[in-house]
Structure formats: structure tokens, C-alpha cells
């Protein structure tokens, strides 16, 4: 089957469209997802095909959006809710953390919550303190939730299909700067399994363990490092919870060095979990301490130059990797 080249946003839209055609219990709910097409244009055209019954615009009521998705899931639907910015996940945190994540367990496995919450993280758009957050780490701490964060169009489409078909609540972490990036996807139906990372570039000297926007930056950094005689392996986690421990450990055993690269503020973020895992399970193979390269310890600043310094850029990854190898 031939491939086609589409954007990350189009890949998400294709997954939504195909799943809605396949399964009448799948529906969308969120703010400005109908005629407006979503704040980032992801749901453009879907209300025309599926109507306002299945592409539901709501008032600005994030707790009600998340709660409505949970309730509908409890009675047999497969809702996909859009939360316009990941910062707004705080407004539905009770529903997600105390309800969606725990219902199955608290009810003794007698209920299920097959729902997806899609939301974009990321700075780099000049949207300042309330629209640039990367808060995905918080949700990885919650048993009962699954958290995925695709970096390519292929993974976005395949993971979203898996998320929609999964019987658990899945937090689907998108990235604003990825929406317009292009990638190849097959014409035919496919899924990317939740819980499986992927080596996006082979290398022998160091493993760059990363996800979301930092995958493409790490790949760029790896190219530069290669010119300098360092072969970096780039491991895209794709799923944060459950985490593909096996692929991480296998890679580190091969390269003997691990640099964990992520956008959120360095302290207490998900990357620290990855670093701890490597230290626990591959300590004897390490030639250097595991290093975390995360964001600055500050809220997202508006000024564009400061905003750029907030998160790791390609040159920061190159520098950190070089220090570890030399």
C-alpha cells in the first residue's frame, strides 16, 4: 500500500474521522470544535460530515466537558474530548484524576471509562503564562490513566486509534509546534500500540530518551553530533504511561549513556522517572551518570527570546550530549 504525506494535525483528524465512521459510539466534545474547527484547526470539516450530534460544541466549561465524557463512557459511548490548551486541564483535574482514573478500580472493575482527552502542550507560540504549559507529567503520576505523547504524524494517527479503542481513560498529549509538521502515513488502517517506544535513530555512543517536540530536536542534534564523531541513539517514548521500560533499558545497555530530554521544567517532571528507572535497572552498564535536560524553573515568559531559552533547543542537546561523551 502506498504512503501519503500529511500534517500531524491532519493525522489526528484522520484518526478521528475513521474511528467515527467505524464506530457509532465515538463522538467529539469540546470548545469551538464545530464550525470553528478547533483552536488549532484539528477538527475542521468533521461537523460537516458527522453533524452537531457527534461533534458537540460546549460553553467554556472544562469540568463539564471532562465529566460529560466520563459519564457518556460509563454508559457505553467512546467520547473524545478536546481541551483547548493543556493549561486548561487544571480546570478538569478533579474529573480526570479523582473520577476517570479511579472509577474502574473503586467500582471493583464493574465499570469502565473508555475515553480520550486530547490537549496540546508546549511553548513557542508567544502565548505566555496561561497557554504554553507542558503539564503532562502530572497525569503520568496517576494510576488508572494512560498518557501518550506522539511526535510524528504516523504515531499521532496510530496512537489515537489505539487510544479510542482502549477501554481506559487516555490522556492524548499533542504539541502546538507539531501540528503543521509533515510525515508519512500509510493509506490503510493501522494502529500504534500504547506502551511501546521506538528507536527513531540508531546510535552506539549515547541514548537521547525523549518524547513529543523534543524528538525532532533530538534527531537534529544527533545529526550534528554525528558530524562531530558521536553517534547518538534517539529513543522516542511515545507512551509515558505505561512506559516501555524494555526498550529504554535495551538501548542504554548498548550505548552506556543516557540523556533524558524534555520540555517541562526540569524539577519533578516525568523525565526524572525515566532517569530513576535507568539508574535502577541499568546501573552497571552506565559509563556516566544519567543526565536530565529539561526546561527552566519558571512559568512561560512572553518575551520571545526568553521563551526560546525556557526549553531545550537543538544546541542545548548537542552541548549536553557532548559533555557526557567526551
Amino acid at each position: 500500500m502506498p504512503n501519503k504525506t500529511i500534517t500531524y494535525a491532519e493525522a489526528i483528524r484522520e484518526a478521528l474521522r475513521e474511528e467515527m465512521r467505524r464506530d457509532p459510539t465515538v463522538f467529539l466534545i469540546g470548545e469551538d470544535i464545530g464550525l470553528y474547527g478547533g483552536a488549532f484547526g484539528v477538527t475542521q470539516g468533521l461537523i460537516e460530515e458527522f453533524g452537531a450530534e457527534r461533534v458537540i460544541d460546549t460553553p467554556i466549561s472544562e469540568a463539564a466537558i471532562a465529566g460529560a465524557a466520563i459519564g457518556a463512557a460509563l454508559v457505553g459511548m467512546r467520547p473524545v474530548a478536546e481541551i483547548m490548551f493543556f493549561d486548561f486541564m487544571t480546570l478538569c483535574a478533579d474529573q480526570v484524576v479523582n473520577q476517570a482514573a479511579k472509577i474502574r478500580f473503586m467500582f471493583g472493575g464493574k465499570a469502565r471509562v473508555p475515553m480520550v482527552l486530547r490537549s496540546p502542550i508546549g511553548s513557542g507560540t508567544g502565548a505566555a503564562g496561561h497557554h504554553s504549559g507542558s503539564l503532562e507529567s502530572w497525569f503520568t503520576h496517576v494510576p488508572g490513566l494512560k498518557v501518550v505523547a506522539p511526535a510524528t504524524a504516523y504515531d499521532a494517527k496510530g496512537l489515537l486509534k489505539s487510544a479510542i479503542r482502549d477501554d481506559n481513560p487516555v490522556i492524548f498529549v499533542e504539541h502546538k509546534l507539531l501540528y503543521r509538521t509533515k510525515g508519512d502515513v500509510p493509506e490503510e488502517d493501522y494502529q500504534v500500540p500504547i506502551g511501546k517506544g521506538e528507536v527513531k535513530r540508531e546510535g552506539k555512543d549515547i541514548t537521547l530518551v525523549t518524547y513529543s517536540i523534543m524528538v525532532s530536536r533530538s534527531l537534529e542534534a544527533a545529526k550534528i553530533l554525528s558530524q562531530q564523531g558521536i553517534e547518538a541513539e534517539v529513543l522516542d517514548l511515545r507512551s509515558l504511561r505505561p512506559l516501555d521500560e524494555e526498550t529504554i533499558i535495551r538501548s542504554v545497555k548498548k550505548t552506556n549513556r543516557a540523556l533524558v530530554v524534555y520540555e517541562p521544567s526540569k524539577f519533578g517532571a516525568f523525565g526524572a522517572e525515566v532517569a530513576a528507572l535507568i539508574t535502577e535497572k541499568a546501573f552497571d552498564y552506565l559509563d556516566a551518570p544519567v543526565v536530565r535536560l529539561g526546561g527552566e524553573e519558571m512559568p512561560p515568559p512572553y518575551n520571545p527570546n526568553l521563551e526560546k531559552k525556557l526549553v531545550p533547543q537543538v544546541e542545548d542537546i548537542v552541548r549536553a550530549a557532548r559533555e557526557m561523551v567526551s
Binding site: I60, G129, Y302
Partner: protein, 318 residues
């Protein structure tokens, strides 16, 4: 009733807001302002009517569409323009930008990017004012969209049962981003919500600066004398899109045109001329505004940016 001089001042402030934003939009197109912002054009009567009814040391809370509130509360357009350009001389040192502009010295407790999030904060400020017996009042601006957040419900109820000195001023511009109020509410006037909280509620013409002024003045004095909060709904309209990425597909050109014919600034200008103010007086004011705006642009462009080290020191109080 405001004096003629006060009315001229209202006209001047509305015009200053309009020109500030038109200029900011041009600068955005030229790439001198980045990110996004939300233009208040068309809604100036609400900010100016509301803030002119307050005492200078009263407080306001603002919204993501906050340029008008900030100017109406007495901000310096130079420091505002610098903020939009991300400069160190801006109100927030370039760290907040359009959506988080605040002028705490003048009582503007800040704009917010999270719809509805300033309503509980306004209630908290009013609680502080009451506990400290300052006789100050808080004017809380928010849009129609915010009325359907959980924060609105919890905060307005708390203010009502605590009888706090706060005025809730809803700027109903008919759309929460693209979602029309006719779909978002099963009631006709948002002011009807007041009934459920046991506080007074009234709807006013938000394109009429004097109507807004009068309503807020009465509510503020009521709040100041211990009478508790009031919910005022100002019916208004934004002439521009929600933000810079809005293609305006959810409303018709005819609707926009009809509302533009009700421009609050033109309306005030006609009124002042009818009341005998010489056209030359208003023209002179407009020239003064142009000079201020040009100064502001120059000031912003010439200003420096904050360094990362300086920004790091601002995360915690020392």
C-alpha cells in the same frame, strides 16, 4: 450624572483605547508584536463606563481581552505598548504580554488567560477590602463565556453570602470565542442569573458609556456601603475576531456591520457635539491621542529586553 468635562474625558479614553489597539494590530502585522492578542475594539464603552464610576483607589480584575480595562483604569500606554513588545519597560517587564497585563499600582489586579479565573480572585480582593475595612470596591470584568465556568458559580455565590464589595460586570459580546450566547444559555439575559444568588441583576446597553457608568456607579456605591454584590450585564460586541487566528466563520458580515453602526465612540462624539462641545475641541483631543500613541510605539521599540538571569530572580519573592 457625569459633568460635561467627565463626558469629554470618557470620549478621550475610549478613543485612546481604540487607537492603541488599531496601532497594536498594525505592529502585529509588521511582526513587531508577536504571539496573539484579543482586541477590545467595539467594547470600549464598558471599560470606560465601568472604571469612570470607581474611586481612583478601587480595584479591577481584567480578562484576556484586557487592553481597554487597563487604559480605562489609568495605565500609561507607553508601558502597555512596551509590554506588548515584550520589553523590560512594560508593565510586566515583558514576561506577561497582552494576556497578562496588570497595573497593580493603579488597582488593576491583572488580565488572565484562563476564562473565568479572575472572578474568584476579584471576590478574594473584595474579601480583603472588607476585612481591612478599606471601603474600597472591586469591579470584576468578565465575558459571557466566563459565566458558564464553575468558577463563576462558586465565586458569585460566595460574594453574595459574604456580602462582599464587588461589582460583577459581564461583557456580553454574544460569543464565547465562536460559541453564541443563544446556544450557551437557556435564559434571555445573563443578568437573570443574579436571581439564583439572591443579588440584584440588571442588563444595560454596553454600547452606551453613560448607561454603563450609571449602572456601575449605583452598584459600586451599594457595595461600598455594605449592600453586597451586583451583577451587571453590558450587552456589547467585538468588531474584530476572537483572537488573531479567528476567521470569523461563525457570524455574518451583516451582523458585524449592524453592530459597527452602533460604535460607542461615534455615539459619544455625536452626543458631545449635540451638547455644544466644539468640533475643534474633539479634533484636538484626537491629535493628542495620536501623539501619545506614537510616543508609546517609539518608547516600546527603543526599550530593552529582560535577561534570563533577571527573569530567574522573579520566580520567587526574595
Amino acid at each position: 450624572m457625569p459633568t460635561l468635562q467627565e463626558k469629554i474625558q470618557m470620549f478621550y479614553t475610549m478613543y485612546l483605547i481604540r487607537r492603541f489597539e488599531e496601532t497594536a494590530e498594525e505592529l502585529y502585522m509588521e511582526g513587531k508584536i508577536w504571539g496573539t492578542f484579543h482586541l477590545y475594539i467595539g467594547e470600549e464603552a464598558v471599560a470606560v463606563g465601568g472604571c469612570s464610576a470607581l474611586h481612583p483607589d478601587d480595584y479591577i480584575t481584567s480578562t484576556h481581552r484586557g487592553h481597554g480595562h487597563c487604559i480605562a483604569k489609568g495605565a500609561d500606554v507607553k508601558r502597555m505598548m512596551a509590554e506588548l513588545m515584550g520589553k523590560k519597560t512594560g508593565y510586566c517587564l515583558g514576561l506577561g504580554g497582552s494576556m497578562h497585563i496588570a497595573d497593580v499600582e493603579k488597582g488593576n489586579l491583572g488580565a488572565t488567560g484562563i476564562v473565568g479565573s479572575a472572578i474568584p480572585i476579584a471576590v478574594g480582593a473584595a474579601l480583603g477590602c472588607k476585612l481591612m475595612q478599606t471601603k474600597k470596591v472591586v469591579l470584576c470584568f468578565f465575558g459571557d463565556g466566563a459565566v458558564n465556568t464553575g468558577a463563576f458559580h462558586e465565586a458569585v455565590n460566595l460574594a453574595a453570602v459574604f456580602k462582599l464589595p464587588v461589582v460583577f460586570l459581564c461583557e456580553n459580546n454574544l460569543y464565547a470565542m465562536s460559541f453564541p450566547t443563544r446556544k450557551a444559555f437557556a435564559i434571555r439575559d445573563i443578568a437573570e442569573r443574579a436571581l439564583g444568588y439572591g443579588i440584584p441583576g440588571l442588563a444595560v446597553d454596553g454600547m452606551d458609556v453613560l448607561a454603563v457608568h450609571e449602572a456601575v456607579f449605583q452598584a459600586a456605591e451599594r457595595a461600598r456601603s455594605g449592600g453586597g454584590p451586583t451583577l451587571i450585564e453590558a450587552k456589547t460586541y467585538r468588531f474584530k475576531g476572537h483572537s488573531k487566528s479567528d476567521k470569523n466563520v461563525y457570524r455574518t458580515k451583516e451582523e458585524i456591520k449592524q453592530w459597527m453602526e452602533r460604535c460607542p465612540i461615534k455615539r459619544m462624539e455625536s452626543l458631545l457635539l449635540e451638547e455644544g462641545v466644539a468640533a475643534s475641541v474633539l479634533e484636538e483631543l484626537k491629535h493628542k491621542v495620536e501623539d501619545e500613541i506614537q510616543d508609546a510605539v517609539r518608547f516600546g521599540l527603543e526599550s530593552e529586553e529582560l535577561t534570563l538571569e533577571e527573569a530567574r530572580r522573579l520566580v520567587y519573592a526574595e
